[in-house]
C-alpha cells in the first residue's frame, strides 16, 4: 500500500464514516431520550434507499404498503386506548396524527409514482414517505412497554428488526439496488481523485449534525428533549411529556435514517436486509461515544468508516469481522472509563 492508496482509502472511509455519523447520532438521540436502543434504524435507512430506487425506475415503492400497515395498526391501537378511556373527544386528533398524516405522502405517491420526477423532488417525496415509520413503530411497539427495563426494550428492538426485515422482503423483494449518482463532479487534490459524491456526503452529514446541534441548543423543543434524556421524572414535573419527547426523538431519528439512506443509496448496493449491518457499524461508533456523547460518537463513527475501508482493502471477506472485533478493545477501554450507574431494583 502506498500513500496514494492510503489517501483514497481514507477518503472513502471518511465518506462512509460520515454516513455512520448521522446514523450513530440518531441512535444516541433516540437512546438518550427513550432508553430504547433502536436496532431497526439501519432498516429504515435501507428502506429509504429502496424507495428512492423504486421512484427512479418509476415503480410503485413498497414503502407505501409498509407505512399503510403501520398506520392502520397504530390507529387501531390508539382508538382502542381511547375507547377504553372513554375520552371520545380525542378521536379526530388521533385519526389525523396516526392515519391521515402518515398516509398523506403515501397518497401523493399514488399520483406521482408513474411520473418522472427530478432528483431533488424524488428525495423529498422519499423522505416524507419514510418519516412516519419510526414514530409509528414507537406507538405500536414501544409505547405499551415504556416502563420496561433497557434490556427488555432492547430484546423487543431486535425482534422488531427481524419483523421489519421480513416485511422489507415482502414489500421490496430480494433484489439489490443502487441509485443514480447525485453528482458526477469530481476533483483531484494532490494526485488523489475525490468524487463529488464523497464531498456531498461529508457536507450533508456536517450540515445535518449542525442542524441537530442548533436544534438541541437553541429551541425549546430541543431543551425539552435534553431534559427528558437527563431525568425523565424531573422533565415530567416540568410539564414535558416523555411520550411526546419520545415521538419527537423518533421523528428526528427517522429523518436522520432517511438522510443516511439517501446518501448511501448511490455508493452501496442496498438489499432489503442491508440495514442491519450498516446500523451495527454505526452502533460501534455510538458505543465509542458511550451512547451519551455526541462529539465522541461522531469521531468514533468516522474512525469506524476509515477502519472498514482499510479492512476491505486488506481482506474483503473479513472486513465485517474486523469492524465488529474492533468493538472488543473499544468496550474494554469503555469499561474502565465509563461510570456505571447503579441499576437498582429487580425487574
Amino acid at each position: 500500500m502506498n500513500a496514494q492508496i492510503a489517501a483514497i482509502l481514507t477518503m472513502d472511509g471518511v465518506a462512509t464514516g460520515a454516513i455512520y455519523v448521522l446514523m450513530a447520532l440518531g441512535f444516541v438521540l433516540i437512546f438518550s431520550v427513550t432508553r430504547i436502543v433502536f436496532v431497526p434504524f439501519g432498516d429504515i435507512a435501507a428502506f429509504t434507499a429502496l424507495t428512492l430506487a423504486a421512484l427512479e425506475s418509476r415503480q410503485f415503492p413498497g414503502t407505501v404498503g409498509l407505512v399503510a400497515v403501520l398506520a392502520v395498526a397504530a390507529t387501531a391501537m390508539e382508538l382502542f386506548a381511547i375507547l377504553r378511556a372513554r375520552s371520545f373527544a380525542r378521536i379526530p386528533r388521533a385519526l389525523f396524527f396516526y392515519l391521515v398524516l402518515p398516509l398523506l405522502p403515501a397518497g401523493v405517491m399514488g399520483f406521482v409514482s408513474g411520473a418522472t420526477l427530478n432528483a431533488p423532488l424524488r428525495i423529498i417525496v422519499t423522505v416524507a414517505l419514510i418519516l412516519p415509520i419510526a414514530p409509528l413503530l414507537d406507538r405500536i411497539v414501544f409505547r405499551p412497554i415504556a416502563d420496561a427495563s433497557v434490556l427488555l426494550l432492547l430484546i423487543v428492538s431486535v425482534a422488531l428488526h427481524f419483523a421489519l426485515s421480513g416485511m422489507g422482503l415482502i414489500f421490496f423483494g430480494p433484489e439489490g439496488v443502487r441509485t443514480q449518482s447525485l453528482t458526477d463532479f469530481s476533483v483531484t487534490a494532490a494526485g488523489v481523485p475525490i468524487s463529488g459524491e464523497s464531498i456531498l456526503i461529508v457536507v450533508a452529514a456536517a450540515i445535518f449534525c449542525l442542524l441537530l446541534f442548533l436544534f438541541f441548543e437553541f429551541t425549546i423543543q430541543g431543551k425539552a428533549l435534553q431534559a427528558t434524556a437527563m431525568n425523565r421524572t424531573g422533565a415530567r414535573l416540568m410539564g414535558i411529556r416523555p411520550a411526546h419527547a419520545g415521538t419527537v426523538a423518533f421523528l428526528l431519528g427517522s429523518a436522520m435514517a432517511a438522510i443516511s439512506g439517501v446518501l448511501i443509496a448511490p455508493v452501496n448496493t442496498i438489499f432489503y436486509d442491508s440495514g442491519f449491518i450498516i446500523g451495527l457499524k454505526a452502533f460501534v461508533g455510538a458505543i465509542i461515544g458511550g451512547l451519551v456523547s455526541f462529539p465522541l460518537t461522531a469521531a468514533g463513527s468516522l474512525f469506524v468508516g476509515v477502519l472498514e475501508s482499510f479492512a476491505a482493502f486488506e481482506s474483503s471477506p473479513f472486513k465485517e469481522v474486523t469492524v465488529f472485533s474492533l468493538l472488543i478493545p473499544v468496550l474494554l477501554w469503555r469499561s474502565y472509563t465509563l461510570l456505571q450507574p447503579e441499576e437498582d431494583g429487580e425487574e
Partner: protein
C-alpha cells in the same frame, strides 16, 4: 408441593421421555431431538439472562463454535467425536472467557449489544475460513458412538440428547440452591450490594457466562453429530434471537421454562411453516419471520414472565425444609476490647466542587458503639461509603485493624471484617429472607461451582443454613424464613439487612439509619440487640437521626456538619456542646 409429589412428577416425566421412542414415529423423535438440543441452549440463557440478568444475542455462535470444532475434528481430521466434544468445550469455553472478560464489566445493554457484534463476527468467520468449508459447510460428519454402538439413528441419539439435558438441568438446579447460586441470583439489581458482601461480582458473572456457553457447546456438539452436516446458517444472529425467545416464552426465571419454551417455539415454528403457505400462498416463507417476530413482540408486551411462572402460580408452593441443627461455622476472633480498630485520618471526598467530607478524622476502638450524627447533608453517608470502599476518598487515609484500606475494593474490605447496611435498603426482594441472610455468609463458606452443581456442598450448606436461621431468629425474623424479602415492611427490611450483615461474622458493623421506619417497641428491641452485640465484643458504627435512640445507646458520638467534624465525645458532652447545638438548632439565642 411436597418433596414426594415433586419426585413423583419428575419420575413420571422421565419415564414418559424414556418410553417415547417406543410409541412415537421417527418424525416426532427427530422433533424431540431438536427440542432437547434447543432446550439445552435455552437453559444456558435462563441461567445467564433470566437469573443472572445478562442478555445474550450471541448464543447461537457458541453453538456454532462447538459444532465447527467437532466437525473439524471428526469429519475433516478423522478423530473420534468424543475428542470433538473435548475440543468443542475447550474452544467455546476459551472464546466465552475472553469475550466475557472484556464485556462483562459493562452495564447490561452494552454487554448485550456487544453480543450482537461478536455473534456476527463469529458468524462471518465461519463463512470465510477456507478450512471450514466456507458457506457450503462441512458434510458427512460421523455419528457419535458409544463403544461399538453407533448413535446414527434418531431414536439412539435421543437418549444422549435428553440425558445431557436432564443432567444439565439437575446440575443447574443444584447450583442455584447453593452458595454460588445465590450469588448468581443476587447479580440482578446492581453490584453495590453484591460487592459489599465480599462477592466478586465480575467473577460470578464471568463463570455464569462461561457456564451458559458450555451448555451451548454441548448442544452444538450434539447438533453437529445429529444432523451430520453443518453450515453457517443455523449459527446466525437471528437464531440467537430464537433461543432468547425460547427462554423468555417458557419463563426465563425458571429452569423448566427452557424446556417448555424450546418445545413451544419449535412446535409453533413447525406449525406455522405448514400453515402459512396455505394462508398466504405467494409469500414462500417470507411471512414466517414476520409472523414470528410479531408474535414475540406481542408476547413481550403482554406476558413478560413467560409460561412456567404463570402455571406455577396455580400450583401449591414448594414446601421448604426448615434448616436443622448443624455444627456452627468457625468464627472470627474479635480484637481485645479497647484496642484501636478503625482510624480515619483527614479523609476528604469531593464531588466536583462540593466537598462532602472535609478532613474528617476519628478513631473507633474495639467493642464500642460510636454514633455518627449530623444534620441532613452533613456527609455522614459519604463517610460510610468511604469506609466501606463504595467511594474512593479524594484524600486522607483509612486504616482498619492495622491495614490500610483507603483504596481497597468493597469486597476486600468486606472480607477484612466490615459489614454494612444501606441507607436505601438493598435486598433481593424476590429471594427469601433465609436466602438473603445466606448471601451474607458467602465469605465464610467456600463451596465452588462444580462442587455445588454436584451437590458436594451439602455439609457446608447445612451449617450455613443453620447459621442463617440463627441470625434471623436473633433479630426477631425467624418465624417465616421462606417469606420473600420484598414482602416485608420497610422497617423489617432494615432489620433483615442487619441479620445479613451479622451472618458475615464481622468485626465492625456499619449501620446506616437502622431505626428509620421502626415503631417504638421495635426500636427498643433493636437497641437491645445492638447492646448484646456489643457485649459479645462487636464494634458498631452507626448513623442515626433518632436522638433518643442514639443518646441511650452509644458510647461516643462524632458530630458532622457540612462535611466537617464539629464535635466528638460522650453523648452528654456532645449534647451540651454549643457548636452542636448551633448546627442542629440554628444560632444560640
Amino acid at each position: 408441593m411436597s418433596r414426594l409429589q415433586t419426585r413423583m412428577a419428575t419420575a413420571v416425566a422421565v419415564t414418559a421421555l424414556a418410553a417415547a421412542p417406543a410409541f412415537l414415529g421417527v418424525f416426532s423423535i427427530t422433533l424431540l431431538n431438536y427440542i432437547g438440543i434447543y432446550a439445552l441452549v435455552a437453559l444456558g440463557l435462563v441461567l445467564m439472562t433470566g437469573i443472572g440478568g445478562m442478555v445474550s444475542f450471541g448464543q447461537a455462535s457458541f453453538v456454532g463454535i462447538a459444532a465447527y470444532a467437532t466437525a473439524w475434528t471428526s469429519a475433516l481430521m478423522g478423530y473420534s467425536p468424543w475428542l470433538g466434544l473435548l475440543l468443542a468445550l475447550v474452544m467455546t469455553g476459551l472464546v466465552a472467557a475472553v469475550i466475557g472478560a472484556v464485556t462483562l464489566r459493562l452495564g447490561g445493554h452494552f454487554l448485550s449489544l456487544s453480543t450482537i457484534a461478536w455473534g456476527l463476527a463469529i458468524y462471518f468467520s465461519f463463512g470465510n475460513i477456507d478450512g471450514l468449508g466456507n458457506y457450503n459447510g462441512i458434510a458427512s460428519i460421523p455419528p457419535i458412538s458409544i463403544g461399538s454402538h453407533s448413535l446414527a439413528d434418531s431414536a439412539d441419539i435421543y437418549y444422549l440428547i435428553w440425558g445431557a439435558l436432564i443432567a444439565a438441568m439437575l446440575g443447574t438446579h443444584n447450583l442455584l440452591n447453593s452458595r454460588v447460586g445465590r450469588a448468581i441470583r443476587a447479580l440482578r439489581g446492581g453490584n453495590a450490594l453484591v460487592e459489599s458482601l465480599g462477592i466478586n461480582a465480575f467473577q460470578v458473572r464471568l463463570v455464569t457466562f462461561v457456564a451458559a456457553a458450555l451448555m451451548a457447546a454441548v448442544a452444538g456438539w450434539l447438533y453437529a453429530h445429529m444432523t451430520r452436516f453443518i453450515s453457517p446458517t443455523p449459527f446466525d444472529v437471528h437464531v440467537s434471537i430464537d433461543y432468547l425467545m425460547m427462554a423468555l416464552v417458557g419463563g426465563s426465571s425458571h429452569l423448566l421454562g427452557a424446556v417448555v419454551g424450546a418445545a413451544l417455539v419449535t412446535l409453533m415454528k413447525n406449525y406455522i411453516q405448514d400453515l402459512l403457505p396455505l394462508l398466504a400462498p405467494n409469500t414462500s416463507g417470507r411471512l414466517e419471520i414476520v409472523v414470528f417476530s410479531v408474535l414475540f413482540i406481542l408476547f413481550l408486551q403482554r406476558a413478560r414472565d413467560g409460561i412456567v411462572p404463570y402455571v406455577a402460580r396455580w400450583l401449591p408452593p414448594p414446601r421448604q425444609e426448615f434448616p436443622g441443627k448443624a455444627e456452627p461455622l468457625p468464627r472470627r476472633r474479635q480484637p481485645a476490647k479497647g484496642t484501636p480498630l478503625l482510624k480515619v485520618d483527614a479523609a476528604v471526598r469531593r464531588f466536583g466542587g462540593l466537598v462532602a467530607v472535609n478532613e474528617v478524622s476519628f478513631e473507633l476502638r474495639a467493642g464500642e458503639i460510636l454514633g455518627l450524627i449530623g444534620p441532613n447533608g452533613a456527609g455522614k453517608s459519604t463517610m460510610f461509603n468511604l469506609i466501606t470502599g463504595a467511594l474512593r476518598p479524594s484524600g486522607g487515609k483509612i486504616v482498619f485493624a492495622g491495614r490500610d484500606i483507603t483504596r481497597a475494593a468493597p469486597r476486600h474490605i468486606a472480607r477484612a471484617g466490615i459489614a454494612r447496611t444501606f441507607q436505601h435498603v438493598k435486598l433481593r426482594p424476590r429471594m427469601s429472607l433465609l436466602d438473603n441472610v445466606l448471601l451474607g455468609l458467602y465469605p465464610r463458606t467456600s463451596a465452588g461451582y462444580v462442587a455445588s452443581a454436584l451437590r458436594l456442598d451439602r455439609a457446608e450448606e447445612r451449617r450455613a443454613r443453620h447459621e442463617a436461621i440463627k441470625q434471623l431468629e436473633r433479630v426477631g425474623l425467624g418465624a417465616r424464613p421462606f417469606e420473600l424479602a420484598g414482602n416485608l415492611p420497610l422497617g423489617n427490611q432494615r432489620i433483615l439487612e442487619i441479620a445479613r450483615a451479622l451472618a458475615a461474622d464481622p468485626i465492625l458493623l456499619l449501620l446506616d439509619e437502622p431505626a428509620a421506619g421502626l415503631r417504638r417497641r421495635e426500636k427498643l428491641a433493636l437497641a437491645e440487640l445492638l447492646r448484646s452485640l456489643r457485649a459479645e465484643g462487636l464494634t458498631i458504627l452507626l448513623v442515626e437521626h433518632d436522638m433518643d435512640f442514639v443518646m441511650n445507646l452509644v458510647d461516643r458520638i462524632v458530630v458532622m456538619d457540612f462535611g466537617c467534624k464539629i464535635g466528638e465525645g460522650a453523648p452528654q458532652t456532645v449534647r451540651n456542646d454549643p457548636r452542636v447545638q448551633e448546627a442542629y438548632l440554628g444560632g444560640v439565642a
